[in-house]
């Protein structure tokens, strides 16, 4: 067994003490500004993904060619997702040791990973043959499952994100 030369969260302690982390933590206004950007980007990610998911599920009011709708929405989803990750990383740095211990935070990252895998599966399965069902209703079973899972996962991600601030150790 390796001797413990440092506490298990030495990395988190280092991030906590980093210049960026310290600057955000000690500023009265940086955290709320970054948090506002984070919420806006999550709203854009969830809002645009929900439009695509509802189309995949086959909700009639979203009937536009599925392929074109996905191509319309994807750039917005990706830009907003990248900005959500950047703003989220900055918020994390401001209290790395705290977030690291937070269970809702850990589950949130895990759920984002699962949502990513779900999307990847959709892209290598049903999306490959989208030409066959682009303007068809009902949508193929694989597309319905992908849309429903994605929508559910993203709603769970919002709940987990909100719960971080209401549970140990950040309440």
């Amino acid at each position: 067994m390796m001797p413990d030369s440092a506490p298990p969260n030495a990395l988190m302690q280092m991030l906590y003490e980093s210049t960026i982390g310290t600057t955000i933590r000690e500023s009265a206004t940086l955290f709320p500004w970054i948090e506002s950007v984070h919420v806006l980007m999550i709203a854009a990610v969830v809002g645009t993904i929900a439009i695509v998911d509802l189309r995949l599920i086959g909700v009639a009011s979203h009937l536009r060619g599925a392929r074109q709708l996905i191509l319309d929405m994807l750039p917005f989803t990706w830009v907003a997702f990248v900005l959500a990750v950047i703003s989220g990383t900055l918020l994390f740095l401001s209290n790395a040791t705290g977030y690291f211990q937070s269970m809702p935070f850990r589950f949130k990252l895990l759920t984002i990973l699962i949502a990513g895998i779900n999307m990847a599966i959709f892209h290598i399965t049903a999306y490959r043959k989208i030409g066959d069902w682009d303007d068809q209703l009902p949508t193929p079973r694989a597309a319905r499952i992908a849309g429903f899972s994605s929508l559910t996962l993203w709603l769970v991600i919002v709940f987990l994100g909100r719960w971080i601030g209401y549970s140990y150790p950040l309440a």
């Binding site: 709203a43 929900a50 536009r64 917005f76 919002v158 709940f159 909100r162």
Partner: protein
Amino acid sequence: MSLQSFASHLYGTPISTAIRETSWIIPAVQSVHIIAIAGVVGAAIVMDLRLAGVLATDETPRAVVKRHLPWMWSSLALLLTSGFVLGLGEPYRVLMNAVFWVKMAMVVTGFTLTLLFRYPILHPDYRIEHARAAALIKPLAWASLAIWVVVVFCGRWIAYYQ
């Protein structure tokens, strides 16, 4: 009755106390509130950017608005309902907060713009280039999108501004 005494009266009601004292209600309703604003922002991105001539220009504005306006109304209804529950639980936090009133002014403006500049588009005879105030449609589409962005910022700042 002053706003302060109204807030104080609300604070003392059993429903307000119940919302505050049940630990999961406020985070759960806040999560629903964020999901509702996500619905608003999603619908606003698609409709406003179509009217601004940026997105889905192969489709008529009418087709885009017809598809997304119902989602905008439902999301706004959910936003107001969840916001109402939050305000009921913590009346001082919102009613006595200037940022909250800026947010309300923005929501009313965004709502009015949606009503005045989206609803007529649904009419079958509507032609965007012949519409009254046609020159205003693009700038107002951008303004509408900006208003929802400000609403999100105000929402978060209510928690920090006293």
